[in-house]
Each structure stands twice: as C-alpha cells, then as structure tokens.
Symmetry: C2
Subunit: 471 residues, 2 copies
C-alpha cells in the first residue's frame, strides 16, 4: 500500500497577489516566507517522510522549468516526475494530467494533491490526517476542510454533514460534503462561521487516480477524452491547445455527489492568499508592528514593513503594509491588500517589466542585475553558478567589457580560450563569438559594461547552449 | 539711495525637515521645488531686478562652498560676496557678519535679509513691500509680518499694534512690534488668529547696517566685540570659535524695543517648513492626491507621492505623504511630517550615510553614484562636467577599471597622456598616479570598477587638485 502512495504538487500558479515580491516569472511558491526555504521547499519537506521522492510528482508551467529543476534537485525528486504544462490552464487540467500520467505508471496509485504556496505549521498533524484520508478514500475524493477561526472572506467554504457516512468514517472526522460556496461577503461569512458545519476549502485533495479520472470523465468529458490520448509526457503538447481552463473546484468537485471532507483541525494552516493573510501569521512587537527591514518607526502602529537593503522611515502610520523591492514599492492599507491584483492587471496590460521579473533576473546559469542604463550603455552584474556556462553566442549590435570581480572565469573569444581572475578584464567586440564559463566551485561575478545603439536582451545569437535554449 | 541697497541671503541652513530629499550636504535651499530652479535660485530671481548682483551677499557654510559658487554663478553674483562661515552658528552671527562686512564696504548700506528656502509667489507685491520697508526703516529694523490664514503651529507669531507710530507709517502698513511669540500649541494658535493683531514671522528683515550693528551691540555685546575685530573675510576664522550660536529672533529681535512690522499680505508666502507645508502648496486631483511619480493608485485619497524612477503602488491610503529616493524612503501621516526631524536625529547619531549625502554624491568636478558593492569590489558611475578634472591622485589599496560610456576622456596614467572615447577602457593599477579629465563641451561618463580589499573614499592621495582640496 505505501508503495502506491503518490504526491501531486501543483506548482504552476503565478501568485500575483504577492506582487511586488512575486513576479510572473518568479511566483509565490518560489518565495521564502517565514523560513529560509521556499514555500515549495517547505511543501516538499512536510511530506517527504510520508511519500518517497520517487513518488512525488510536480505539475508546473514551462515558464518555471529551470526554477523547478533547481528547487526539486535537493529533494532528489526525479526530473522525469516534473510535468510541464505548455501554458497554465488552472487546476482541473493540472490534476487530470498528473492523475493520467501516474495511473499509466501505477494503475493502483493513490494521490495526495497539494498546493505549493500554503503554510502548514504542524507537520505531525498533517501526516496523521493524510493517513486517515488515505484509509477512507477508496471510492471517493477526500478534501481537507479547515475549521474556520474567523469570518474570512478570502476563502471558499464547504458545507459538510454527518448524513450517509459510516460510523467508522465519522469517528475518523470524515463528513459528507453537501455543497461548496464561493468566497462570501462579510455578512454571509459571519453567518456561515456562526452556524457551524462550514469549513474552509484547503485545496488539499486525496483519492485514487482511478476515482480522480472517473470524476473528470463524468464532469469534464471533453477533457477526459483528450487525456486518454496521452501515453506519456511527450503527448502533452499535442492536446494542450484544446484544453479549456477551469479550476478543479468549479469543474469537478462542485458538481460531484461523492466528495468526502476530512475535518483538518490543528494544522496551523493559512493559504497566504494576500499580504494581509501573510501579515496575520507574523509575530508583532508591542505596538503591533512587524518591521522586517531597515526601518525607523516614529509612532507607527499595526504596521508591517518588508524591505530589502534600503532605509525606510515610517512616521505615524496605522494599519499599513509596506513591501519594498529594488524596482517597485507597494504601500497598502491592510484591509485592502487583495486589490494588489488590480495593480498587477494594470502592469500586465501595460507590459511593464515589473510584471514579469525582478530587477535581479534569474537564468538557468545564474542571473544578472541591471545596475544602470544610459544613452548607449548598460551596466550589469552577472553571476554564474559553479560549473555553469552561458551559451556560446554573439551580438549584432553591442560590444561588451567584462571585469571579473569575484571568482575565476574561463572565456572563449573568437576560438581562443583563456582564464580571467578577479581584477582582470577583457573586451568582446560586436559580432565576435564568445562564451563565459565558471569551471570553479565558487560563484563567478563579473561587471559587464555593454556599449552600443541597441542593448535589449533579444540581441543574442546562440550558437551552442547547455540549457536547450535556441535564439 | 538705490546704490546703498543690499541683499543678505541666508543660505547656510541644513533643512533637515525635508529629509530624505534634503541631506546635510545637499540642503533644502538647493532643492528644486515647484520650479526647475532651486529655492536659492528662486530667491535670487525674485530680487535681482530690485538689487544689483554686485550688491547681493550670501552667507553660507564652508560645507556648501562648491554648491553656492555653482548656484550664484548664473546670476553673476561676485564670488567675493559669498561669506563662508567655518561652521553654522544660527542666524544672529550670520546677519551680524554680513552687516559688519558690508558696512566696511559701504557705511550707508541698507540691507534686506532673506531666508533662501521659502516660497513667495507674488514677486511684484514683494518689490512693492520691500520699497515700503526701505522707506520707513531709517532708525529701525522692519520685519515682514504675514497675516495668518489658519491657526498654524509651525510658525513664530508677532504681536503688532498701531500705538506710537506716525500716521504716515501706519498708512504704509507699518506697525509697532509689541512682542514675539514662539511656535504656539493648537489651542493658542486658534486664539491668536481669532483675536487679530497677530502675524507670522517671515524671517525677512530690512534695515541699515548701522541699526543692525547697533542692535547687536545692545543685545549681544560679546559677539559685537568679536565682530569689530573683523576687517575683512580673512578675519572670520580667527573669531568664529568664540561665537555663541543663537538665532537673530531670540538673540536680538525679541529683546529689542524698536522693531517695526510691515503687514506683508498678498505675497503667497510659505516657509515650506515641513513636508506638510510643501504639500499644502501642491495642486491636487479630484481625490485630493498629488502623484509626482510613477504611481498606480487604487482607491487612495488625500495622498501625495514624490518619487523618482521607481514604480509605487498605493492602495487604500489616506492622508499619507510618500517621498522616495534611491537609498531612503519616507512614509508619513500628513499631520506628523514634522517628526521627520526625529528620524534625522537618529541618523545623525548613528552616523549613517543617509544623513550626509544622497546615493548620487556631488563633487566640484561633477559627481558619482555607487551602483553596486560586493566582496572586494565597488562599481561607480562617474560623471565629469565639461572642462573639469578630478585631482591627480593615487590609491594605496585599490585598482580601477574605467570604461568610457559617454563623452571623451583625457587620462593621465604614470605620466602618459591619452584619450579614450565611448566603448574604450583602461586599467589603473594600485599605487599608480592618475588623472581623469573632461576637456570637451559634453559631459563625460565612465563606469569605474574598483577592485581591492579596502574601497572607502578616504583611500586617496591627492597630488594636484583644481578645487583646493588636499588629502
């Protein structure tokens, strides 16, 4: 039985509600809140003693290919277990795809589906609840229902009841789901919480692949037919264009009659669905402030500041959240923090850089930060991870000056190969094929001064690349 | 008579209430609020048609030598008219010093003393009032009193009355000062404004040098004796250590019996004494917002944002002022903005960089911005003004890589002289004497990558310098 136990981690979300910390290309699940590790890493850490790494599957977007490979490697999750969606289609397609691929490998598989961007403080309790759920889910999907601690308006609610459930199941805290409710208004939320019998929808689902696929067949027959065409990961691309985006909750669960709910109390759970939800998890000082930055506060109350290395003076503020990043600053009243989504929509529409990436841009070989740009020049700090290389490439419209400031570089320039140490420099003329490599065990840092009339990222002709990137 | 008319501009203030826009080395009077020109420049522009440039004197601190020479040059104010105080001692010593030096040049001089960091919208009205004041000030100091428009707590008040003043003087709007009141609490301020007969102290004083010096002799006899030792600017240093800091208001005016006040209405005056005072002068949109930055506002009201080139999202804010700069951010409730002084005090005590300068540091030859620092390296954008040169210098602990990105540089390196154009680079080894010059009419910009174990500004040995700076 344990050998049939699998995890499906949903790691394709864009988490725009954590802008400006999250960006489309660096979403919430890869941010490190509360601990040194990412929310994704925390999710894996919570289940790795219950489910072996070879049975952990991750569904994510092509956009996050290099990040997810980096984040899964420390846990020895096989790269073949990463399922890449050509584009995001919400959770029903993600779960269906994982269930289909896992069921081909193991028709008896039992899957536990987890979001990767939630917080759960009590790991022991999680394990106990997962084992309970697995014990009762032979013919049903079991969903974790969180007993509400306040009339939250940011969650979906589940109405559950004892009817038609065996005494054994009831004893295990299992209830029958009567219906799902969308995010309520404040008045309704108060009523729901007061009346009892309502729970928050955690997004954690447990069941056999067989049952998941049967439910999908009943509720989303078109998608189910597409799924049956898939014999392996290589087939995903051919069907994905025909898949309609829909959430698993809306597309499957809400229409199904046979969903069970496990009362999941004592988890210390939060979906971290907004800056306010994150803020509620923080420890406060005696003025109600949480100042996670270089802050001078004069008479501020109930104010939270998340900064980086810049000084912030907060005078007389109340109920404010400040999130500072190198290129974008958010200042929001606490009760309004969900409206950051509107900001992100505006940025998306305007195709602004702040929508896509941070100022420090990640690449499979490391990353770079633009330090300055001016008329005809751009200055970057380029960091190359140990053992990695940029592609063999040339530029049509710019020259580059490199100064090594940390580590040791091997440079290929017009077929010559040489080594540069810190405080040594070289010049790459426009049109000259070149490559920058870090053969050492330490990071390599160079300052790159680009010079030319056109300095955008798309002026790059790749001749050879370690990461499968073409032009 | 017009040839005896002089202006004394007090330009030595540190203006800490405008932090983070102002810094100790870049104070308020040199900031450009409301117009393209600095507050200092606006002050000169207001009086230049009334008082010839050769009669305009400026009292400032040694700290601001290079800035004041730069800001006075366009007005053709003779450099000999700039009076440098070795250290700031508040306004009484500044005014006394100017009166003494001017009276040596012209014993019949009549001086108009102006702060350089206030706003006055109506220049024509100012000229009319100045001429009135000059006409009645033979034996008195005349102070401009502003009719209060609201019960402000940030100003000193003057109680004035008609008693013992000639009918002619009264007709000209001149009153006798009965007493001065320090900044009142809100209740007192309301009473003062309601009762009438109280005016704001503008800090604008008019009188003959003779009367100024006589008043100083009566009220500050010790300082007066020191002043008499001064025969010219070269003598300032020898007496300055013995001068006690005191404001002209407290040290002289408040104790004097013969001060007149001219009712100075219609000036459109503000002392810009705080961010809130600045904010009150701004035009607002229909939500009461003034968004002088790259701002996305969602439901914010009565909120003012002053930014630079970084995106700021403001959600649900009310009565907030945000001032963003590259290295420091201020967020303050409007009514609390005067408390920025407390922030500045903390920064001063901690000797933090953000107290002294901006991230973009000004130098007589131009300036530099630190783009990045890391272990063993520092990256700067260095900008050299047309026709200027850095000193001939060497460093004991660092090497430098220079890449010219704009303009043309003449480099002296170990007694060799050569030219570098954009997209050309050079290397200055540790210990090698070098000089960077911009002989052209365009600005020169270089990217400097420093490399070494110690990279502070004090590792510089100057061999030759155009600006009188030694090591």
């Amino acid at each position: 039985m344990p050998k049939h136990k699998y995890a499906v981690l949903l790691a394709g979300g864009q988490g725009s509600r954590f802008w400006p910390q999250s960006r489309t290309l660096e979403p919430k699940q890869f941010l490190s809140f509360f601990k040194d590790s990412s929310l994704f890493g925390q999710t894996v850490s919570r289940i790795k003693h219950l489910i072996p790494a070879k049975n952990i599957f991750v569904v994510t977007s092509e956009l996050y290919r290099h990040q997810i490979l980096e984040f899964t490697a420390p846990f020895k999750i096989p790269p073949a277990n990463i399922i890449f969606e050509p584009e995001p289609k919400n959770t029903a397609p993600s779960i269906g795809l994982a269930a289909r691929l896992i069921s081909i490998l193991d028709p008896e598989a039992m899957i536990c589906v987890f979001p990767c961007d939630h917080r759960i403080k009590n790991k022991v309790r999680l394990h106990r609840l997962l084992n309970k759920a697995i014990a009762v889910c032979q013919d049903n999907i079991v969903i974790f229902g969180i007993p509400p601690s306040r009339p939250a308006t940011g969650y979906g609610y589940i109405k559950a009841q004892k009817r038609k459930i065996s005494a054994k199941a009831q004893k295990r805290g299992v209830l029958k789901v009567e219906k799902f409710l969308e995010k309520p208004d404040p008045g309704t939320a108060r009523k729901l919480v007061k009346s009892g019998g309502y729970f928050w929808n955690s997004g954690i689902f447990i069941g056999s692949c067989r049952v998941f696929l049967e439910e999908i067949k009943k509720r989303l027959p078109g998608f189910s037919r597409q799924l049956l065409k898939i014999k392996g990961p290589a087939d995903i691309k051919s069907i994905w264009g025909k898949v309609r985006p829909v959430s698993f909750d809306y597309g499957v669960l809400e229409k199904s009659k046979s969903i069970l709910m496990l009362k999941a109390d004592g988890l210390g759970w939060s979906d971290l669905g907004s800056w306010q939800a994150w803020d509620e998890e923080l420890k406060k000082d005696k003025s109600g402030n949480a100042l996670k930055a270089d802050v001078i506060s004069i008479g501020s109350k109930n104010t939270t500041v998340l900064g980086y290395n810049r000084l912030i003076a907060a005078i007389g503020l109340e109920d404010i959240i400040v999130v500072d990043t190198p290129d974008a600053l958010l200042i929001t009243r606490k009760g309004k923090s969900e409206q950051v989504k509107k900001v992100v929509d505006i940025l998306k529409e305007k195709r602004r850089q702040e929508y896509y990436t941070h100022k420090a841009v990640k690449r499979p070989w490391g990353g770079y930060t633009v330090l300055d740009t001016g008329c005809g020049f751009k200055v970057k700090l380029v960091e190359i991870k140990p053992g990695h290389s940029l592609s063999l490439q040339f530029h049509k419209k710019r020259s580059e000056h490199w100064v090594v400031v940390e580590g040791k570089a091997v440079v290929i320039k017009a077929r010559k190969r040489y080594t540069l140490s810190a405080n040594e420099s070289t010049y790459i003329p426009c049109g000259c094929a070149h490559r920058l490599m870090n053969p050492c065990a330490q990071p390599l840092k160079i300052i790159e001064v680009q010079s030319g009339g056109y300095l955008e990222e798309d002026d790059i002709v790749r001749i050879k690349d370690d990461y499968g990137r073409s032009r």
